[in-house]
Amino acid sequence: MTTIAAAAGRVMQRDFDDCYAVHFRPIAGQLAVYLGSVEDAQEVAQEAFTRAWVRWGRISRYEDPAAWVRRVAWNLATGRLRRMRIAWRHRNTERVETVAGPGPDAVALRDALARLPDNQRRAVVLHYLAGLPVAEIADLCRAREGAVRTWLYRARLTLARHLNDEVTDNA
């Protein structure tokens, strides 16, 4: 009996290790773009995986266990933004999180993203980076599809204006 339990535990741990290895970085990366902080994104992603492990017996039987982790991670990130006012830090151009490497377009985009309301920024990251369709974003954000389309529409207007201004300024 003990042997069966130990074997089952090893299989469960291996499944979890695989999921963690494949999905941790993509989830943390998307959250970092949303939160404007790699450290916060990493903490949130780790918390989501810890919660997943506690329920792994059930979650591992889902068709896409990573979707559960992603949903929890995004909910945690949104809650964290609300509580800690990371948005304020996001607007601070002297942030230490700035990463050397992104091209000028990406830097301009990062600054433009920081000016978006949270729900618009979340929709932009999920749609353009994670590649989720509007319906899935609506489900994940517990919003109507119409609301998500509005967020994306307004975000695009703001981003277009800001990015064009950047190009004009640079010229």
Binding site: F24, R55, G101, R110
Partner: protein
């Protein structure tokens, strides 16, 4: 605005790639260990809650009626206690714990509870929180012997008798602050 869409995607991928390079994931075993600690804390809290509720109910049932023996010394009130067994306890070890309790003059009643029965009771207590129930597996709640002390003041003596027995994980009483068998 197809051009804008392309610029957005390219810029976001650029930011994402830069962020991923800075991400330093902890070892997945550490995450699993944190999850295990959290689940253990939750299960222990659930077991204590079950014991405390049982003890509280027993105290209500066994308390003297209002206006009864007013002024009687409270030092000898009955109390509900539980001896939790380890996950690897053998039937013989469990039986010895039960026999020890039955042989004790300080114990007025003894009941065995399997982990399946404990799980059913746990489900009943947390039926309004399905996520909580789902996070605990039937075998996570320990087998136990639940007993009633005629006098709550005798708990320490009975506990001292049980703790050295093989297969004992913890002995708790709603009448006392929680303490571990080793300390």
């Amino acid at each position: 605005m197809p051009d804008l869409d392309d610029r957005l995607r390219a810029g976001l991928i650029d930011l994402d790639r830069a962020a991923r390079e800075r991400v330093r994931p902890a070892d997945s075993r550490e995450v699993a260990a944190a999850g295990r600690r959290r689940r253990l804390a939750f299960v222990t809290a659930g077991a204590v809650l079950v014991t405390a509720l049982a003890g509280g109910l027993a105290s209500l049932w066994l308390a003297p009626a209002p206006g009864g023996e007013r002024g009687a010394a409270p030092a000898c009130a009955p109390a509900e206690a539980t001896a939790f067994l380890r996950g690897d306890v053998t039937p013989q070890q469990s039986q010895l714990v039960g026999d020890t309790l039955r042989d004790s003059a300080k114990v007025s009643s003894v009941t065995h509870e399997s982990s399946e029965e404990a799980y059913e009771r746990f489900k009943e207590l947390t039926r309004d929180s399905p996520d909580v129930v789902n996070s605990v597996k039937p075998d996570a709640l320990p087998e136990s012997w639940r007993f009633t002390l005629a006098c709550s003041g005798d708990f320490a003596a009975v506990q001292a008798q049980l703790v050295p027995l093989s297969g004992i994980d913890d002995v708790v009483c709603a009448c006392e602050p929680r303490r571990s068998p080793s300390g």
